[in-house]
Symmetry: C2
Subunit: 298 residues, 2 copies
Amino acid sequence: MTRALRELGEDKLLAQVFPRLNRNARVVMGAGDDCAVVKFHGAKDWLLLKTDCVVEEIHFARETSARTVGWKAMMRALSDFAAMSGIPEFALITLAIAGKKKASWVDELYRGLNRAAARFDVAIVGGETSETVGPTVIVVSVAGGVERDRCVLRSGGKANDDLFVTGKLGGSIRGRHLNFFPRIDEARWLTANFKVHAMMDLSDGLGTDLPRLAGASKLGFAIDERALPLSRGCTIQQAISGGEDYELLFAVSPRERKRLQKRWQKKFPGLPLTRIGRLNQKSKIKNQELRSGYVHFR
Amino acid sequence: MTRALRELGEDKLLAQVFPRLNRNARVVMGAGDDCAVVKFHGAKDWLLLKTDCVVEEIHFARETSARTVGWKAMMRALSDFAAMSGIPEFALITLAIAGKKKASWVDELYRGLNRAAARFDVAIVGGETSETVGPTVIVVSVAGGVERDRCVLRSGGKANDDLFVTGKLGGSIRGRHLNFFPRIDEARWLTANFKVHAMMDLSDGLGTDLPRLAGASKLGFAIDERALPLSRGCTIQQAISGGEDYELLFAVSPRERKRLQKRWQKKFPGLPLTRIGRLNQKSKIKNQELRSGYVHFR
């Protein structure tokens, strides 16, 4: 623990910290999945909680329009609800920003946040603002719900499950990370019609995120790299390590394959659904092929 | 809106932004009170949501111990639950921190956060970490609950109500802001035994916060400055403008006064309860006497 954060890496750091955290009997799923899952005061559905942040000079450039930054900040957090097949409902905004910044910048930021929230009927119910002497930090915290039998964790994958991704991968280098749509409607449709064993959203790149899903399910995976749905002009390597795709990665039984592909195409004709491989018993060699995604602090 | 944030001030900025924010039918109380109050999926109690942040070089010095910073960051957010007579239950941590920082710093930070959370049986259910090139920003987002008939807003004050504060004011300049206890037990006891009309926690100083409570209740106030419970070595001016007291300020009918004072002393013998004045019909002259608390960006 005397090492610097960027040597240790975010995952290893949090793996050391999380097991010690205080829990209580109402926690269904604490840190480690896309959202936390908890029970609330007799409600039948589960309460989902998620927080996420975007930082100037890391997630957006100083010259990016404030409205675009707001859109992205909100949609990143909502994408984690898609990952659980959850419905986001309430958002809180926390802003650390330099006092010399223009009030109009914050006004525009909130326009972007609000437009993104309204798209999914999410109410922005609070905003905290603090001064900082450094770059702007925007944190979006969201609460929502999911039916107990439709909540999808990362850990439910089974050996031999098909692995699917929505949309195309690798587009973030061309700016798609600034104007994407979280796949909430798609995830809700999936769990209304199919038994989805495991799911997550691709925020750090397939090469980082797929090992997380497989690892949570205590499985390995095999991917056909030539099958990856590439964004126009992207290489396979970019699709694997790019990050910020915000597409869904999910595992379903191969028995569902045909029905899923057929009904998906009818329901979402404009959005590709691609089978990229499958989960299997742990095989260390295969897993290491994909260990090249973006990891914070590296 | 072309002005800089520090000229406009946080309250004015948010007053411009909040009315435009997206709402939905489940919002009981959006931005503007200590916590947001919402309905969740048939639960009888209300869901409370709050986010708060501490920023290096603003809320804590670089040399402050990480464990102390964690304690403070958690307790600040929990104090807003005290303000509503709510019970905090789940917390999410968001951390923006430079990659060159030691992993042990984050480890110690989480120890402080966790110790504070455990004190009130709050489960830390998630943590997001991002790199920044600037000062460390720690955001704590908390969800919890409150019975509908025990939720206390700022806006319920009535003309002629007594105004009380717990504890002593002005101690933050002597470091009390780093190791305080939010008044959750006290607030719960108050609403179990008395009709509290309006309540808030004193985070920005009486001089800033009391006008907020009175304003939300559409009332004025009269304070006897000589009655203020001063921390040892503090002047009246410091008690008014100091900020970060994290004591409760609340309004109850003067008919309750005697019973409240008597029972309080028995229940919390170590903690002073002081009647500092009363709410009254709006009187602009009186209100301006106290307009000197700490305001962000000023």
